[in-house]
Symmetry: C2
Subunit: 215 residues, 2 copies
Amino acid sequence: MEKDKIDKKEHILDVAEKVFADLGYDGASTRTISGEAGVNMAMLNYYFGSKEGLFLAVFERKINSFRTLLQNISSDGSMNAWDKLDKCIDNYVERIIANNCFQKLINREVSMNKRGDLTDKIIEILMVNVYEVKRIMEEGVNNGLFHADADIPLVIATLFGTKNYIVNMPQISSLVLGHDIRDEKFMENELKPRVKTYMKRLLKAYLVKEHDNSK
Amino acid sequence: MEKDKIDKKEHILDVAEKVFADLGYDGASTRTISGEAGVNMAMLNYYFGSKEGLFLAVFERKINSFRTLLQNISSDGSMNAWDKLDKCIDNYVERIIANNCFQKLINREVSMNKRGDLTDKIIEILMVNVYEVKRIMEEGVNNGLFHADADIPLVIATLFGTKNYIVNMPQISSLVLGHDIRDEKFMENELKPRVKTYMKRLLKAYLVKEHDNSK
DNA sequence: CAAAATTAATCAAACGATTGATTAAGCGTA
DNA sequence: TACGCTTAATCAATCGTTTGATTAATTTTG
């Protein structure tokens, strides 16, 4: 049936996304992916033409969900810059930290930079989110809510970099935190709220003028 | 002569470091490395036992110098926790941001969790440095210089994560910063002091009690 | 010192294993 | 039967590694 076909392709894409994230593009062999997905090796080429086609399919499937993540927050006139940033942090932590394997995949391919066409596409997508956050922060500076000499580009590097460090190097952050961050319960009940609280307090301490230090 | 022998091994390590960084561990074949270095393929195994041995040799050569530097700072009794951290940031930025291709390599390999033996060794070596920084921060908390409720593990994620973001995704951070960070002059004269200033101000604002906010 | 013995360094060639990809035959359903 | 799906078998290419032979350097010996 048509429905089974779609479900099977989706299943392959799910598995491929995870395997690519774990092993990288080179490290993820077509045999490993097909084996993990429980399908014959030739099915990958049958459905997606080639390994690169499969990779592109994995990537493009995710594009839409990343497009609109922050835009509605940014354009909300009822919030000041800090409240928007607060909301951005909430959404980002909630959404990215939980489903992290695609982020790992993206970061690795961007840092590799040897597959030009694909890398350019990925960067273009990522920049949409980055510019959205940057715009919010600059709004805060212009409104006098944030320090005028705040280094916004580097704050962005901190916001996304801290998140990347946690999700991209789970073994290291697990050791530093004292818990396995791949544990679903710890992630949901402890790490997520903890990262939210930390990130807000950190950025507030650096960005916001005369904020309440006590809490 | 003895000197030539050493120089040759060092030359192979130099080339291997660059090729590994450009192509990744999987992407860098022993043939490419030996070809680029102008030596016979078998020399890699003769000198370093295996491809993995070569990689580890490249890795340990880089990490050792920084490790002793950190330990010297950490054990210096004449500085308080913040001054130590200040010095760590200076050294870290000066050292890592400039020579970044190796850091990209390390982060890429660690973020793949399925190459067990090699990844474990890398993590083990990296953690020495991470724990050193952690120890300094905890010292600051215990001495009452830093806020008692400071989330030290996440501060570490910020410190290393911000750096990683800048050096691992130069295309993105170049766009955010408005300059090509791969430009040597900009990197040395502007980015380095800027990151130092930012990192200290950020961590100070979050960590240190009753610091001077004005500057 | 010089010849012999030993060790270290280097090379081309080939190894078995694995890679991404393709093939032709078999399968189930319409 | 005819068609879309699935499979095992197989392809050439490349992988990291090993081999045996050869040369260069060093040490031992007479």
